[in-house]
Each structure stands twice: as structure tokens, then as C-alpha cells.
């Protein structure tokens, strides 16, 4: 492959675009450029094809089969999807749990991250707080979940303080269907808000001083300033944070897997847990692929909705 290097003469300028350029024969330099472009892009294209596009296409095929981990696949058509939406006692619940988790986790995460970002911004120890709040986000999730399990168990720290300070007998947080999912949400918010806090902190620092000054001269203070000036200025960061947080929350797996194993009953089973169980416990790869495709479709729809909706509230020009 001809690859331009420092020792070869510089390639001639590309042919001018337009109708006249089209008719012109390609120069050797242009062709060399194409080859080198292909050489540079090739590894990623092949990697993308092998490890992303092919598995994605394969998942579509598998979702139409009864594909046991051990044994031969048989064609089923849409029966896997019918089973998930009809007979599977867990899939509907997992779908509901995932939406409840997302509905609680995303707003809480954004509110906590935003509130702390503003608070930290005025603190003398801003850097220290940022590091402290970011630590859970970079600590392995499994380790965090195990620590939270110890905090939440019947004789754990939370139960002790509830009893000694408020005199309340704590429920068995992770074994009680009413508190299990809320506990998973609480742990996830603690684990996840640090990342958004950094994003919001950066956005707050980037706010143009002249706009804030103008708002101040116009008499905007407190909530009015926050709502009408600062929040719109931060809207690109908000959009990024909500989109990414929403996607990751729809894919929640580790927290319920470690804290509750999906129980009690199926109170904390999420979509990805459902997919994992279908694939690696029931060894039904076709059913797992169907579940994964449904999850993908849901995330795609929600994200598309967010991108369409951003025109109304995200301001990129300041």
C-alpha cells in the first residue's frame, strides 16, 4: 500500500470539486491518499464490523430462533417476542421495574448533581468536594454495591441509626418488596451523581460573565436567575447529562444483581437482568437476544425523542 511519509514528496493538491473536477482522471496522489485513508480507517472498520455490527446482526437472527446454548437452533419466527409479552411472568415486571428505576433515578441524579454543583461552586474547597463526590463514580460498582448491602442489612448501619436516633425499627430494606427497589435507586444515585456533578461544574464555570452581569443589572436574583438565565446557559450540559444518564439507567444491572439478585419475588428484576437470566441461567440465547432487542428499541425511541425535544429547550448559542 502506498503510504505518504516524510521522505516522499508531498502529494499534489486534491482536484477541485465541481462538475469539471468530476470528469478529470484521478491523479496517483489522490489514489494514494484514498489507500492511506483506507489503511487508517480499515482496522476500526473491521473492528466495528467484527465486534459490533456482526453481533448486532447475529442477535437479530438469534431472536427469531429457539437457540439453546447447548444443542441445535430451530426457527421460531416471532414466538420469542410473543412469549416475552404474553407468557413470561417476569418480562413485563422487569420492564415496569426498569421504567420505575429510570423514572426515579434520572431526576434524582440530575437534581442532586445540579444542587451540589451550584453549592460547590461557591465553596472555598470546591476542588476537594469535586474529588470526594467523584470517588464513588470511579470506584468499581460491585465494591460499592457490596458495601451498601452491608449498610442496608437488618443489623447494618442504617438500621442502627434509624433505631438509635429516631427510635424506628427499620425494615429489612433489601428483602422487603416495598423498599428493595428504592434501596437500589438510593445506592445508584450515590454511585452515579458524581459524574454529572463534574459535567455541571464545568458548565457553571463556562457561563459567560457578561450575561450573568447583565442579568444581575436587570435585577435577576435567586430562583429567577437560576431558572431564566443559568439553566438555559447550562442546557447543553443538561441535555448531555440527561441523555447519557437515561441510557445507562435503562441498562441497569450490577446494582440489583449484587444487592438483591432481582428479589424479593421479582421486585427488582430489570430488563438487562432478564436478558442475562434468559441467556446464562435458562441458556436460551434466542430469548435473551429478543429481550436485548426490545431494550435496544426502547432506548433508541427514548433517545430519539430526547434529540427531537432538545430543539425546544437546549440553547447552544451564547
Amino acid at each position: 500500500m502506498a503510504t505518504p511519509s516524510l521522505t516522499t514528496p508531498a502529494p499534489p493538491r486534491p482536484a477541485p470539486r465541481g462538475p469539471a473536477g468530476k470528469r478529470r482522471r484521478k491523479s496517483p496522489g489522490r489514489r494514494a491518499e484514498q489507500w492511506s485513508a483506507f489503511g487508517f480507517a480499515g482496522p476500526s472498520v473491521i473492528g466495528l464490523g467484527l465486534f459490533t455490527l456482526f453481533p448486532v446482526a447475529m442477535a437479530v437472527v438469534m431472536s427469531l430462533f429457539n437457540w439453546p446454548m447447548l444443542g441445535d437452533p430451530t426457527f421460531l419466527g416471532l414466538d420469542n417476542f410473543k412469549y416475552l409479552f404474553g407468557e413470561d411472568p417476569n418480562f413485563g415486571v422487569a420492564l415496569r421495574n426498569t421504567f420505575i428505576f429510570t423514572g426515579l433515578y434520572v431526576p434524582l441524579n440530575i437534581i442532586v448533581a445540579l444542587a451540589l454543583a451550584f453549592w460547590i461552586n461557591n465553596s472555598r474547597y470546591a476542588q476537594l468536594w469535586r474529588v470526594l463526590f467523584f470517588i464513588p463514580a470511579i470506584t468499581p460498582m460491585v465494591a460499592n454495591a457490596v458495601i451498601w448491602k452491608l449498610l442496608l442489612q437488618p443489623d447494618g448501619t442504617f438500621a442502627y441509626y434509624l433505631d438509635s436516633i429516631f427510635g424506628i425499627s427499620a425494615p429489612n430494606f433489601l428483602a422487603d418488596g416495598r423498599t428493595a427497589l428504592l434501596s437500589v435507586v438510593a445506592m445508584s444515585v450515590w454511585q452515579g451523581f458524581g459524574y454529572n456533578l463534574i459535567v455541571f461544574s464545568a458548565a457553571i464555570n463556562e457561563m459567560p460573565a457578561n450575561v450573568l452581569e447583565a442579568a444581575r443589572l436587570d435585577g435577576a436574583t435567586g430562583l429567577r436567575k437560576f431558572w431564566s438565565v443559568q439553566l438555559p446557559l447550562m442546557s447543553p450540559a443538561m441535555f448531555f447529562a440527561t441523555t447519557m444518564t437515561l441510557i445507562t439507567s435503562m441498562q441497569v444491572f450490577t446494582q440489583p444483581y449484587i444487592l438483591t439478585a432481582g428479589g424479593p419475588g421479582n421486585a427488582t428484576e430489570t430488563l438487562v437482568m432478564n436478558v442475562y437470566q434468559a441467556g446464562f441461567q435458562s441458556r436460551d440465547l434466542g430469548l435473551a437476544a429478543s429481550g436485548a432487542w426490545i431494550l435496544f428499541a426502547i432506548i433508541l425511541l427514548i433517545t430519539a425523542g430526547q434529540f427531537l425535544g432538545q430543539k425546544k429547550w437546549v440553547h447552544y448559542d451564547h
Partner: protein, 425 residues
């Protein structure tokens, strides 16, 4: 440009073809072993190992095979126990399985079609009958055992003394057990650490009223009446904190952990933990057979062994390897290493010697504990499981905990386990 397109297409085709090979390939005839020009056969051996010590023990066994048969070499491949069966099923699915495969009795049902029956090829002489029975299914011996485990009640001797209770011994009853559990519950500590793990829970249910979750022809029957009654009794222990309820459905080892921590005064645990429980607990540990219900004391036994995969090309060599790996020499070596209660009867007394040597101060307790194992094995039966047992175990965790907390009834929970498990059994 056309050339470029053609090159891109060719590369794309190669990429897709290559990925098709990696994803769908398998069933390679030479899976699991290879033969050198001088006739030496190298067999792959898949086994779980959690530490370098364990790997060193297994390497020793592999060398024993070559010492006995210089023309056979064994290539050990390991994974931690928690990942082992995920790895094994993936290997079988992609045709990468080893010739010699390690198997646990509770997982056997999922591999019946993939393991070669050993009946004519590997003699079963010298093994405890319970150990060979646990690794056979449908009349075929699918793996040869190297260990044997039963379930026992571990109890806190200090707590029994303080409460003025007689210590449990062989022949104690469910009523004795309930009485002790109630009296031992005080000061925020529970009399009994509850569980939802298969062997731990189901063994006690079996001893209570002979309740069996699986029929003799290996079909689930969780919703059977005896099971409902036994689970109702077991869940009743949670009342007034007599039984310590697991903190979540993810706490598979709750009962035994609470016991060793000193938060529960009794727990059901496997005989494989005798040594570690006695040395980890900060109190005197006693061990007794499970309390006897209407039909006497009973327990499930479980164990592990080595089988030969059907796809192996060098089966004769693999049978030879299994003979050595489960032979008297290997059993003696593993027992001396404290690996577990041996499946070979001749080596069983040596296990007691090993435990006593490890902890001379607890010689009496250890000695009595091993006697309890021997006593419990006399009435032990194998727990035959369905091929979707992983799924069933997961559902036991999720639904039984609801019964313990009072959120669900035994009948509803068992019906849910039965209904969800029946689809892929």
C-alpha cells in the same frame, strides 16, 4: 475507485466470514486433546480452582497421570468455581470442551448428553456407594467421584452451655431443634441462621417431613403438598426472630455466615466447611446430623468428580486419566491436603487425622464432627436436579425470602418456583 470498492468488499467478506467462524464454529474433532508424532496424547482437563494452592494440588494430580502412563500428558485448565459452569457450557457450545471434565452432582443433569457413560471403562470399586450414586443419572455413571459431602447442623457450643441446653447428638428431633432455636434467641441474636440455598434448605425440609422438590424421574414438584407444609414450618422459624432472615435474595450464604459471625447460634452447612468453620469461629463449634422428623434424620449428599466428554477423540486415554485422578493414590494425596471428605471409603479415616492435625486443640470436636458426617451419610440421598437448576435456585432465593418475611404464602411462592422452572426442566 472500483478497485477500492472491490478491496473493501473483499475485506468485508473476510471479516464476516471470520466472525462467522468464531461465533458458529465448533464441534472440532480434535477438541479437548492432541496426539504427538511419538504417540503421546495430551488431554485437556477442565477443573475449578480458587487459589494457587488449589492449582498446585491439581498439577500434582496431573503429574500422577503421566507418572502412571508416560504416554498421557494432562493439560490443566482452570476457572474459579463461580465462573466454572458458565465457562464449561460456553466451551461445550463452541466445541472447545476439554476431554476430561470436572462435574458437580447438582449440575449433572445439564450435561447428560455431553458426557460419556463410564460404566464399562472405569471400575467403581472402593467408592462410597452414595458418592457414585450422586454422579450417575438414568442408570449411567457419568463421572467418577473424588469427594462426598453431606449437610449438617453446626451449633455454637458456648451458647448451648449458657442456655443450659443439652448439645444435639445423633437422633435429636425436629422438636429438640425448635426448642433449642427458641431458647438460644436472645439479645438480638437468633437461634438459627436461615437460608434459601438448595442443599442447605432442601436438606432440612427433607429431614422434616421427607419433602422432595424433584421426583425420582427428575421432574420438579415444588408445589407438592409436603413441600408446602415443610416450607410453612421452615418459614415459621422467622417468627419472633428465632430464625435470622437473609438480608436479600442475593445472600446465598446467609445462615452459615451469621453462624460463624456469632449472630446465629445454629445453621445448616455442608461437611466441606468443617475445617474452616471450626477455625474461623470465635467460639466452640459443634456439629450434629440434621434433626430427625417423622421419618428420621435425612440429608442430601452432593459431590464432585471427573467425566469424559463425548466429543473426546482419545477416550481410552481419558478413561485412564480418570482412573488415576480418582484412584486410591490421588484420593490419599487430596485427603492429606485437606481437600474434602474423600469418596473412597479406605481414605475416609485419614480425613479425620488431617483435621485433628490442623487444629489439635479442637481434636474432640473435629473427631465428633467427622463421626457426624459418617452417620449422616448412612441416610444420605443424592439431590438429583433438573437441567435448569441454576434458574430454579435463583427463583428459590427470590420467592422463599418473600415467605420468610411474610410477604407471600408458602403455596404461592412454591407455585411460582414450580411454574417458572417447569418450562425448561
Amino acid at each position: 475507485m472500483r478497485k477500492l470498492k472491490r478491496a473493501a468488499l473483499a475485506l468485508g467478506a473476510v471479516a464476516v466470514a471470520a466472525s462467522a467462524l468464531t461465533a458458529c464454529g465448533g464441534g472440532s474433532d480434535s477438541a479437548g486433546g492432541s496426539k504427538a508424532d511419538d504417540g503421546t496424547v495430551t488431554l485437556d482437563w477442565e477443573m475449578w480452582a480458587g487459589s494457587e494452592d488449589e492449582k498446585a494440588q491439581l498439577d500434582h494430580l496431573a503429574r500422577m497421570v503421566t507418572e502412571a502412563n508416560p504416554k498421557i500428558k494432562v493439560n490443566l485448565r482452570t476457572a474459579p468455581f463461580n465462573d466454572y459452569f458458565t465457562k464449561l457450557q460456553t466451551e461445550f457450545a463452541t466445541g472447545e470442551q476439554a476431554c476430561v471434565v470436572s462435574m458437580q452432582s447438582l449440575r449433572l443433569a445439564g450435561y447428560t448428553d455431553l458426557l460419556e457413560p463410564l460404566g464399562e471403562h472405569v471400575p467403581a470399586d472402593g467408592f462410597d456407594p452414595a458418592s457414585t450414586a450422586a454422579l450417575s443419572l438414568g442408570g449411567e455413571q457419568l463421572a467418577m467421584p473424588f469427594d462426598l459431602a453431606s449437610m449438617l447442623v453446626y451449633y455454637n457450643k458456648d451458647a448451648f452451655k449458657a442456655a443450659g441446653l443439652d448439645e444435639p447428638k445423633a437422633g435429636w428431633t425436629v422438636a429438640d431443634f425448635e426448642n433449642a432455636a427458641e431458647k438460644l434467641t436472645a439479645d438480638g441474636k437468633s437461634g438459627f441462621g436461615m437460608s434459601f440455598s438448595d442443599l442447605h434448605t432442601l436438606s432440612l425440609l427433607l429431614s422434616y417431613n421427607d419433602a422432595k422438590p424433584v421426583t425420582d424421574d427428575v421432574k420438579l414438584q415444588f408445589d407438592e403438598q409436603k413441600m408446602v407444609e415443610a416450607v410453612a414450618w421452615y418459614a415459621g422459624l422467622a417468627k419472633n426472630d428465632v430464625g435470622s432472615v437473609p438480608a436479600s435474595a442475593a445472600d446465598g450464604g446467609w445462615g452459615e455466615t451469621q453462624f460463624v459471625n456469632g449472630n446465629a447460634m445454629m445453621a445448616v452447612d455442608g461437611s466441606w466447611n468443617i475445617g474452616s468453620n471450626i477455625s474461623a469461629a470465635k467460639f466452640d463449634v459443634g456439629v450434629a446430623p440434621l434433626p430427625a422428623g417423622a421419618a428420621g434424620s435425612k440429608t442430601y449428599v452432593a459431590n464432585s468428580g471427573f467425566g469424559v466428554s463425548k466429543s473426546c477423540q482419545y477416550k481410552d486415554e481419558a478413561y485412564e486419566a480418570v482412573k488415576i485422578l480418582t484412584g486410591a493414590g490421588a484420593a490419599q494425596y487430596l485427603t492429606d491436603q485437606g481437600r474434602g471428605f474423600p469418596a473412597r471409603t479406605e481414605q475416609q479415616p485419614a480425613f479425620k487425622d488431617y483435621l485433628v492435625a490442623q487444629d489439635p486443640d479442637s481434636a474432640e470436636a473435629v473427631s465428633a464432627a467427622v463421626d457426624s458426617i459418617t452417620a449422616s451419610l448412612a441416610t444420605g440421598v443424592p439431590l438429583f436436579t433438573t437441567k435448569n437448576w441454576d434458574e430454579v435456585s435463583k427463583n428459590m432465593a427470590r420467592y422463599l425470602i418473600e415467605v420468610y418475611t411474610g410477604a407471600s404464602t408458602p403455596a404461592d411462592a412454591l407455585a411460582a418456583i414450580q411454574q417458572q422452572g417447569a418450562r425448561n426442566q
